[in-house]
Symmetry: C2
Subunit: 526 residues, 2 copies
Amino acid sequence: MKLNGLNFLGNARSGESKVTFQAVNPSTDENLPPLYFEATADEIDAAAVKADDAFQQYRLKSGVEKAVFLETIAEEIASLGDALIERCTSETALPSARITAERGRTIAQLKLFAELLREGSWVDARIDTAQPERQPLPKPDIRSMQKALGPVGVFGASNFPLAFSVAGGDTVSALAAGCSVVVKAHPSHPGTCEMVAEAVLEAIEKTKMPDGVFSMLHGTSNAVGMGIVTHPFIKAIGFTGSFRGGKAIFDAAAGRAEPIPVYAEMGSSNPVFVLKNSLFQNAESIAAGLANSVTLGTGQFCTNPGIVFVQRAAEAAYFQQALAEKISEVKMDAMLNSEIHRAFENGVSQLSANSDVEILFAGSAETVKPNRAGAQVFTAAGSVFLNDASLEKELFGPATLIVIVEDEAQFLNIARRLSGHLTATVFGTEPDLEENRQLISILEQKVGRLLINGFPTGVEVCHAMVHGGAFPATSDSRMTSVGTSAINRFTRPVCYQNFPDFLLPDELKDNNPLGIWRKIDGELRK
Amino acid sequence: MKLNGLNFLGNARSGESKVTFQAVNPSTDENLPPLYFEATADEIDAAAVKADDAFQQYRLKSGVEKAVFLETIAEEIASLGDALIERCTSETALPSARITAERGRTIAQLKLFAELLREGSWVDARIDTAQPERQPLPKPDIRSMQKALGPVGVFGASNFPLAFSVAGGDTVSALAAGCSVVVKAHPSHPGTCEMVAEAVLEAIEKTKMPDGVFSMLHGTSNAVGMGIVTHPFIKAIGFTGSFRGGKAIFDAAAGRAEPIPVYAEMGSSNPVFVLKNSLFQNAESIAAGLANSVTLGTGQFCTNPGIVFVQRAAEAAYFQQALAEKISEVKMDAMLNSEIHRAFENGVSQLSANSDVEILFAGSAETVKPNRAGAQVFTAAGSVFLNDASLEKELFGPATLIVIVEDEAQFLNIARRLSGHLTATVFGTEPDLEENRQLISILEQKVGRLLINGFPTGVEVCHAMVHGGAFPATSDSRMTSVGTSAINRFTRPVCYQNFPDFLLPDELKDNNPLGIWRKIDGELRK
């Protein structure tokens, strides 16, 4: 595929700006062709207007029609073949095995949402039947279901160039809900974005979806993103990235004349608690697993375990040593881009300069090759952690902090003072867990996903997944950005009172033509 | 019951402030004893701290325990007897038959949520079973359900002193979800609030619920409300009232260090569209029904039909006359309070002074008795409506505006430009409706509830009800404030990965001890 660097205004291509940029190969710092055209204010407006027009038709598509659309996108992505893998590895420095697996995940995710649409019950159809004879007032017939919210703005993540990008979790759940989508392509992998956008356009053509159901805009400046967020036709935002970026979008969206929901996944330190007996019995295997989890994808996972709490004991010292040793054995690739690399180096410098924090292992980065990070293991006392809020902040990259906690009371105190994170993990034997129910009860108020004796990296795309968590991990803890429930972010309920059958959506018609589960007078029935 | 005017800080009573106020009987403008103590900053903090403490215990209560609590509140409200009805009518000028019916609704609402809790499936339990042998990576066991969000601040409405107040829809759905509640009592009916709060406290004592699960604060100043909204322990807000009040709360909540969700129901003009054949055939009965709907409760319903669109025709003139005549026959009581009365009079003056708006009927208010409103019927052309955004704004009280629309294109144009409302209503014969599917498709994007050939006043408390709608009708169109789905406002999903069975909530244990519906590997099962 020849890349041309243009913006996608629905099915049209456009490059009006004189401002352009190029992708950079982070492994070599070399520019990659072509030039990408920063979207202009007019182009942003055109995309939003098309999205609004298309929404009027797309929102009426049946579940099966939308399923075929998603399945066709999946096929078109698959048929991009090795060219996609090659471009993506060159833009991200992520190894091709990883990108291949991520492509598999992206395709499976599209198919899972297609399945959800074919089955159809996700709309939460409810029917309360009329009681015309009820006293003192008759009860009307009321039926409700979830309907699409409107055009959605999607901001892809740098660290998952396929699964959280152009046709990733946000886009697929918005399209599944019946929303049109305007994607802000991540400037760190614009070529990958363009290839996937071409695949989406192929699918639009093949399945005759309305022009404007999908647009994609390029840009390195905040203006493009903010243009999408503040456009009156945009009705919700999906975002995965930094706290700073996500919070700026949240604030802009809340400040609009018509505020709109923002689903920003803004990162997390994913605290891990290693309980006493588990530490005594499994220090080595936990250390090995954590070393792998901390360094996976050069530490660039939202679910990277950035803080590990262990109780002060001889075994804690052994654990510190084991984790540092295991991490020292892992070879690091280049980070995703120079900005992320610089931020990691800055964060490492700050922690290293903190006199209350001890360095257990400081991997030296290869300085000959660009954007290489050295993995880091730090340690600090529980009392230090309690008094220094900066230690809880995410350090995006291959680093972790072992916090030595004095006793169970301090464990609980730390847990209670934690802010929101995507995940929390507890390692414990059965007696450990029995004794620490209160810890688990506290942690479940902070995070979207709680793990026992596992590692938080690896987010399964399934029905029960919650990739979310209390602020500041996300801007809306009521939702998940991964798994089929993610569709709920882009819908709102509508109820129909006293509607004749022919005017009702199929999901709510008397004879249940779609054969979906419905709550009829409070009882689930098919 | 002897009223004492104190704030409820959990189970304790407190009146530290020197600032006090009294309820006023709007029918007579006489003060009603006792003095009510404005909550101080310390009292607000104490209530929030207690709510946070209580939440740690209350969130672990079983569905049955919470159901018994709600049922006991219902019993205690019933046992307040005529004293409640009398105090409430004297504070609101609403007739005793209405208050009696509203008490019935409030009690039924508590019982409906109790039923929901006893049945238990509302938690949306999901289980994705493990596949340890899966390649390339094993699939973990993941289970999720909805959990309570935290302490909730509730602002009661003036116009539903029982059903949307202290133990109304917001409080009952928050308590059902497992949240503790801090109520801001409406200063327009503080005695009613105190009596209901006493009933809640009786229920807390009888069912041994934790001290702090319910608090109530008095105040006429914004400081009390804002003190609740900005308190770090408060995790969500339920509000019913004016746009100005709701938007100020929304902005304050979005501006917190940790933003929190605000569910503000901020009013609506509830547009009604009378289609051609329906106008020709049923002008009289529609006019009669609308006259009743417009004047119900002295026009003080959120769902009052404030704008009626009819097509220009001879029958439209007949309809105008009929509606004016029917409305002229209704006797008006005093409005809820002098502030609402003044706002209504101001709104009427403004409309009357608008040279593009014609007055069809101007009820003269009895000037001898205080706070009486005269019902009003205005009319304007479609082109006027399209060019004057002020005409779409809610005028809270017994008034309505008939808009004469030129043709079907203008109907659609108007519908497309409408902002969000709680309801929209279409009157049409079967051919009318067949021809106007596009109108209905547009309207369903604006409102929470669409009615065919009915009247929007009267909001059924049931499973399918959506009392919501796009901004500015509400601050969060994804939710409803009436009906059992209202519980979803106060929860967030949590997932549990690789949990041993004994650590899981009952809702997610292998053997389904509660017998609830669960989505297992994507299939609903019991």
